[in-house]
């Protein structure tokens, strides 16, 4: 009975033992099979067991690490914290640690631990399970890098956008606040932009006309006047006047806009010159009136003297004649001064070139020169003419004004060249232009005064000493006339040695008239 009991007990024990062995094997298999790297560590940090997954991730063979300190596979400091925290808390969840591989690589791993206790509740060690975060970290780092790059790009874009916006705002502010009217037509001649000043000039609203083609703008609406002025093809103009109403005169300039050879369209600028024009008109009216009022007594004097001198009022003595003749000459000077003033006001009114016809410049020059010959010889000046060809040289000009110009240049040479000097006039054809040159050996113009020589009323300091009665208008008028004819005028001069004044005019074929 007892034996049976003992046997039975022995059998039961064996069974339990078998079960236990089987269980141990099961656990061992499971431990080995787990794809999760796991190890078991003693409370003092000695590696007691590792599974193949851990071998794989660390590169260490089982026998290389078992019995070794945990510091073999973990960072020393991190390992000691891990042991401390695990023993204190019983568990550590998902802590990131550096795992040291055999090859010396540091692998970022996420680690969890859990203590194991025996039946007496004594800690016998702890499990560490870890997952390799390297790839995740790498991906994460990559993502972060991409994110940063994206953020940088966004930031750059934002900055660029801000800068562009600032620039745009600046440009817009300039366009909006400009006192000139601005209108932009795209390359198809559709109105693309109009600024507030231009809206104001023409009494139009941007929203009503933006997008409209110039051809339809010409036909109706408040913008018809400037549109007609510009024409369906938007002709190129520079500072052309457009009379808007009784009080407003605009100066219109167009400018073709292009970028890298691409036609973008045309910008039209409307500059309000009403005030300038009003002042100019008042001044001109004043000068005209003053000139007229001055001429009336001068013509009375002229006619009285002439009649007396001609003997129409009875015979006069030689002495009286001489005195009256001098008075007559003085009066003539006054008249020419007034004429200068009148001409000047006309030049400035822009209606000076009233009668442009095809003229032979050579003939005109010879006529003017003829009237100067006596004066030159009386003063003891040598006078020479150079002409490259005897054929007529045609220019389109107003005869009276052209003569006046040649006269002014010769008059200066005569006045400001001392006796025994030389005055040379030459006429040359240069390409499509003809050039008239008056060279003298006169007093010249001081360097510091040369910049002002064509200014209205300006007279050189030396010139004033020699000829106190000049008006300072001759060269000013000459410049206005020549430029009004599409020519150029200029000079070179050296004080005490002489001056060369010249102008060029475009040549024309005979018979061509405007």
């Amino acid at each position: 009975m007892f034996n049976i009991f003992r046997e039975k007990k022995q059998t039961e024990l064996n069974l339990v033992l078998d079960d236990l062995t089987a269980l141990e094997q099961y656990i061992h298999d499971l431990f080995n099979f787990s794809p999760l790297p796991v190890c078991f560590i003693s409370p003092i940090g000695v590696i007691l067991e590792v599974n193949p997954a851990l071998e794989k991730v660390t590169g260490f063979k089982m026998d290389e690490v078992i019995g070794e300190s945990i510091e073999k596979i973990f960072d020393k400091d991190e390992a000691s914290f891990l042991i401390r925290d695990t023993l204190k808390e019983g568990v550590v969840d998902n802590r990131e640690l550096l795992l040291l591989s055999k090859g010396g690589n540091k692998i970022i791993a996420q680690v969890s631990t859990r203590v194991r206790k025996d039946e007496n509740n004594e800690t016998v060690g702890f499990f560490i399970s870890l997952s390799d975060l390297t790839r995740i970290k790498k991906t994460e780092a990559e993502l972060k890098r991409i994110q940063e790059a994206l953020l940088n790009i966004l930031e750059d874009t934002e900055q660029a956008r801000k800068k562009a916006e600032e620039e745009r705002n600046k440009t817009e502010a300039i366009i909006v606040n400009l006192t000139d009217g601005l209108v932009f037509f795209d390359r198809n001649h559709n109105l693309a932009m109009i600024n507030p000043q231009a809206e104001k000039f023409f009494g139009v609203k941007a929203e009503d006309i933006v997008g409209e083609n110039i051809k339809s703008l010409i036909n109706s609406g408040n913008f018809a006047l400037p549109a007609k002025f510009l024409g369906p093809e938007i002709k190129t103009v520079f500072r052309k006047e457009l009379v808007l109403d009784r009080h407003t005169i605009l100066e219109i300039s167009t400018s073709a806009m292009g970028s890298e050879g691409e036609d973008l369209g045309d910008l039209v600028v409307f500059h309000d010159v009403s005030r300038e024009k009003a002042v100019e008109r008042l001044k001109t009216e004043f000068v005209s009136l003053a000139a007229h009022q001055l001429r009336t007594p001068l013509s009375a004097i002229k006619w009285s003297l002439r009649m007396v001198l001609d003997g129409d009022a009875g015979k006069i003595k030689q002495e009286q004649r001489e005195i009256l003749e001098k008075t007559y000459q003085s009066n003539e000077r006054m008249i020419s001064l007034i004429n200068d003033l009148l001409n000047l006001s006309r030049i400035e009114e822009g209606r000076y070139v009233i009668n442009p016809v095809a003229l032979d410049l050579a003939k005109i020059c010879l006529q003017v020169i003829e009237s100067f010959k006596d004066s030159f010889s009386n003063k003891g000046l040598k006078f020479k003419i150079f002409q490259s060809s005897l054929k007529p040289i045609f220019v389109i000009a107003d005869e009276e004004k052209l003569k006046l110009t040649v006269q002014n240049l010769l008059d200066n040479a005569l006045k400001y060249t001392p006796a025994k000097g030389v005055v040379e006039v030459s006429l040359k054809q240069i390409g499509k232009n003809v050039r008239l040159e008056v060279r003298d050996t006169g007093i010249g113009i001081a360097k510091e005064e040369q910049g002002r020589i064509f200014s209205k009323f300006f007279r050189g300091s030396q010139a004033v000493l020699i000829e106190p009665t000049g008006t300072g208008l001759g060269l000013y008028m000459a410049k206005n006339i020549i430029e009004g004819h599409g020519g150029k005028i200029g000079f070179s001069s050296e004080q005490g040695k002489g001056s060369v004044f010249y102008f060029t005019l475009p040549k024309q074929k005979k018979g061509v008239s405007l």
Partner: protein, 121 residues
């Protein structure tokens, strides 16, 4: 003897012109536009010398009235003036004046020659 009418408000000019032209013509005078217009009708001159700036009716007014009358329109008319702005000159020619002259640019002899050229003596 042919008749010349001078319409001119300035006394000295009128006197000088009259004196000069009286050598060859029967000269009538008027000192403003209105008077001048009456005189044109009464004296039937062969030529009119007309000033522009005058009281009552200026030279432009006189020319306007003349152009309304087919007979008066035929009388040669020379404008004598101290102005002579291009716009005025254009207007004067448009209104049928034979010629214009700026007083400062002419002397009495030249004027007399001009008149002779137009109507003879």
């Amino acid at each position: 003897m042919k008749r010349v009418l001078i319409i001119e408000d300035e006394e000295i000019m009128l006197k000088l012109l009259k004196r000069k032209l009286s050598q060859d013509y029967e000269v009538f005078t008027a000192t403003d536009g209105q008077q001048g217009l009456d005189m044109i009708k009464r004296a039937a001159p062969d030529l009119i010398l007309l000033d522009l700036v005058m009281p009552k009716m200026d030279g432009f007014g006189v020319m306007e009235e003349i152009t309304k009358d087919e007979n008066l329109k035929k009388i040669p008319l020379v404008v004598i003036s101290n102005s002579g702005q291009p716009v005025e000159m254009d207007k004067i020619k448009e209104m049928g004046a034979r010629d214009w002259l700026i007083k400062t640019e002419f002397d009495p002899q030249e004027l007399s020659d001009k008149v002779k050229k137009i109507i003879g003596t």
